[in-house]
Symmetry: C2
């Protein structure tokens, strides 16, 4: 198919497809004439993967490119590629809060205590540390004066146990008999889509819990006088 | 303090603070002279809240403004404001996949089946539907030909049960005796920071599960010949 056909098949505009081609996220089609190329199902699948990373996973184009490189690189094992992809999925941000180093040490103790097989420099450690710093700074757990000492990571141990159980279930879905790039695609997309699903379920549950706790007291309704 | 002091206290540049002021995210300081104003602790706290929304929650400035409006608006109850904030926290994106309507209906059945007190038009329903569409399209659960029929939401029921339990625990931390704006701040920041924490813990667990499943087989190491 021509690029217009690829656009129709994926719902991505031609301009965006050309951008993906220029940035190397999408492999070139087979040239059929000057300024004309032929695209196939491998392109459709790749465009869908890019959309999953960028729209569902909200990755930057540069981070999506790092994930795609890990998907494509046959030199590294599935597990190593998974690590690269995981690192690329952690948002970059300033980590200038003086508590960050303490929070990171707390995360490392959590990893060690729960005997998690996690690379010592895994970026995701910073993500958990970010959350710890914010929970501490806003005193979300109501510790009062303790809010300048980073929260104790033991708080999360029961969640870690549950998450490990769930993760072994999820990783079990990765097909063993298929091509490496398909395995990687399922792993990466599964990571992102399950994360969005779990976050959405948590938010549904929070709305439910908020309704149960706060909805009994109606607010003043100055707007709603008789029509 | 002057705006330079506010910048020093929060780690946010003066240019960014002026941007927050222009966009109405930050309330003006008390004018002390032409082009000079005085800022206090309420500004420091508000800037920290904006950073939590934008950096940890990765909200757009427009969505952060909607959340802040809900935090500030005394006319609505805590629970209603929580709903507004929840809606603003769902990323905007194209939902042009023909499966999306089916996925949304599946989400609504899940809400009803689990008797969740969720507004009928809550935006977060779309977030779970997004994940369902992606899991279906990439056939993450290995259903083969079934990958054009949206996944059965029963899959998530056990997660919903666990999430409700955890949410009641989290909502229990919202202080009852404090000012409304403080309660809202804790609720909003708690929602975001717990979500990041849970996502990070899930990723740590996935890396662990991947190591257990895939790390036994080393890849070919063409690069690593003897030095």
């Amino acid at each position: 198919m021509r690029i217009a056909g690829l656009s129709a098949a994926t719902g991505v505009s031609v301009a965006t497809l050309k951008y993906y081609l220029r940035e190397g996220l999408l492999h070139p089609g087979v040239a059929t004439a000057v300024n004309q190329a032929d695209y196939d199902d491998t392109h459709v699948r790749r465009v869908r993967l890019i959309r999953a990373l960028v729209e569902l996973g909200r990755l930057s184009i540069a981070d999506a490119a790092r994930v795609l490189h890990a998907v494509d690189d046959d030199e590294v094992s599935i597990h190593e590629a998974f690590g690269v992809a995981q690192d690329a999925m952690v948002p970059h941000r300033d980590r200038d809060d003086p508590l960050h180093a303490d929070a990171l040490a707390e995360v490392d103790r959590l990893v060690e205590r729960n005997q998690l097989l996690v690379r010592p420099n895994a970026e995701v450690r910073h993500m958990l540390a970010d959350a710890l710093v914010t929970l501490t700074r806003f005193d979300v757990l109501g510790q009062g004066d303790a809010s300048t000492t980073v929260l104790d990571g033991h708080l999360f141990d029961s969640y870690v146990t549950a998450a490990v159980e769930s993760a072994e279930f999820e990783i079990g879905y990765v097909p063993q008999h298929e091509e490496r790039s398909d395995q990687m695609t399922v792993t990466v997309v599964g990571t992102i889509a399950w994360e969005v699903a779990m976050a959405a379920i948590r938010r549904l549950a929070l709305e439910h819990a908020s309704a149960r706790r706060f909805d009994a007291v109606p607010p003043p309704r100055r707007q709603r006088v008789a029509k």
